[in-house]
Amino acid sequence: MHKLWASIYKEVLLLSRDIGGLAILFVMPLVLVVTITLIQDSTFRSINDNKIPILWVDNDKGEVSKSIYDGLAASKSFTIIDKESDSEAKDLVFKGKYQLAIVIPPHLSSGLEKKVALNVEGLLSKFGLEEETPQSEKTDLEKKEVVLYFDPATQIAFKNSIKNGIDKMIFKIETQTIYKAFQSQITDDETEAIFDTESFITFKEISPGTDENEIIPNSVQHNVPAWTLFAIFFIIVPLSINMVKEKSQGTFVRLRTNPVSYLTVLGGKTVVYLTVCLIQFGLMLGIGVYFFPILGLPSLEVSGKIPLLFLVAIFAGLAAIGLGLLLGTVAKTQEQSAPFGATFVVILAALGGVWVPVFIMPKFMQALSNLSPMNWGLNAFYDVFLRNVGIMDVIPELALLFLFFIVTTAISIAYNERKNAI
């Protein structure tokens, strides 16, 4: 036990003597989580706050184009800039000056009205209420296309949300036009409300939590766990560098001649670097709770969850340290350990769902994701932060993280023993 304490003390001294490294170890993850959350938060808020300028070419000048225009204006997401020419709008968007141009085709309103009227008349004639519409009139109707020009650099998610929004608006306009057409056929009094055109089905999002304390997911609740975990796993870089340095200084060689086990040496590093992880984690929580509101971000909601959050952080930290110990044991130079460690963490983060949610990954990647300790850690954090679960629900993920630590540490010891067996 005394040897373990001495090892811990030595690691503390080594870390404390590297003030620059220590600052990077604590400050950079904080900078990372603040930066990412600010960026993500602006994306979350774009619907409400950040107006995206878009070009509008109205060749219809009718009721339908007015409805779409009003719908876009009402969404408060866009600043609409009118343009007369289709080609000018296209040119500006394709050069990247604007992200989107919407071109409404000529005669869209009259065409839609005519099409709906024909359909309604056709339907009523089936009931013997109207004369049948000649076939030639039906086929004369030309289909209309609302043309969207996107800047090629525009992300697919943005494109899809715009397309869905416009599609929804067009569908609503079409439906209302149908109602109007029926109404005009049935009564001459335009003020008489025969149809209730309001949507019958609406949806309500229920978030997990107690009745009084509902958890509303926001950019902070999503980003802090994801990027905190990312930062925790980045501990493998300084840890493996620390071990490789000991090899190059010859101190590891000396320790091999001493009556001390490799487990004790690794134990000292584990305790110290786990403490670093937990301090990092505490700072991140503090930033989320106290600093984010100053930046205009939502505050991180941690009330009643802190013990469980730290429990998850301990196991995630152990998994990260296990990986760092293995990398430090196997790597021979800093040139091997640092780039590999950094890249590997990024790969694990990608697989773990830090950037792209696992459920939208291809099946094969989803299967691979199950092997990433960052996936287990992220799920455990989301369970606590967003799903409001108890300790029993996170035990499977904690067990996997701990098993990962045990396996990686055991491999490190076995590798070291095998390499240095006498």
């Binding site: 005394h2 590297d18 060689v253 067996a421």
Partner: protein, 247 residues
């Protein structure tokens, strides 16, 4: 007593053996010098004896103990002064020694007293709280030595302990080693300083191409080769004057 029997070592990717079927017996209380040109196999032999590398074949025991059966007991009874400093540059001399002494199970007041004693004897007392990276080569060599003798080893292996140090440092180191030997520590040391070895060692072995080509007390060897006036002459007679550069 160190008993070595048919000890051989061949490194991966090396065509030749670095140590070949070596038999050697070193008595307790001896100051035994392993001498030889570059690449002769001295460091390889010491590395095997100190558990740093695995022999390809053969075996050895130190005071009846082997690494296969009594690894911790054996490690506790030996000390190794490696050729490189093998110390933490950002820790002070005291911190380095306290940590490395702790690895031998020493602690508390007893350890602190030992550290201060050796630092004092080797002229480093006033630098005990200075970081190693501010030390000169000679000072680092002395700390390197202290780190290996805090636990009073019965056998001390030294790989080039005086390389790159000034005459004063060399003198302090040698004198301290003599004192340790007088207290019963067996010393096995490699060196290129043949004059130093001639004065310091009670017995030497000259190794070349992984084999011991001669061994005995320095004076015996000098008298054995009539044209030799000192150990260096014996050395050159036996190993030749050709350069031994290795890449």
């Amino acid at each position: 007593m160190i008993q070595i029997s048919h000890l051989s070592k061949k490194y991966k990717n090396n065509a030749e053996y670095s140590v070949v079927d070596l038999d050697l017996k070193i008595d307790q209380g001896e100051i035994f010098g392993l001498l030889g040109p570059n690449g002769a196999g001295k460091t390889t032999l010491i590395s095997m004896l100190s558990s740093l590398i695995k022999p390809t074949s053969g075996n050895f025991s130190i005071n009846g103990l082997t690494f296969q059966k009594n690894a911790n007991q054996l490690k506790q009874s030996i000390g190794i002064v490696p050729q490189e400093y093998a110390l933490y540059p950002t820790l002070t001399a005291f911190e380095n020694l306290y940590y490395l002494g702790s690895m031998y199970g020493l602690n508390g007041k007893q350890l602190k007293e030992k550290i201060h004693f050796h630092l004092d004897v080797l002229g480093l007392k006033k630098f005990s709280n200075k970081k190693l990276d501010t030390f000169s080569g000679g000072m680092k060599r002395r700390v390197n030595l202290i780190a290996s003798i805090l636990h009073n080893p019965k056998v001390l292996f030294l790989d080039e302990p005086t390389v790159g140090v000034d005459v004063q440092s060399k003198n302090v180191i040698i004198e301290h080693l003599k004192k340790l030997n007088a207290q019963g520590t067996t010393i096995i040391y490699t060196s290129h300083h043949l004059n130093e070895a001639e004065q310091f060692c009670t017995k030497v072995a000259i190794i070349d191409h992984g084999r011991i080509i001669t061994e005995g007390a320095p004076k015996e060897l000098i008298s054995k080769y009539p044209e030799s006036h000192n150990l260096e002459d014996v050395f050159l007679t036996l190993t030749g004057k050709a350069l031994r550069d290795h890449a």
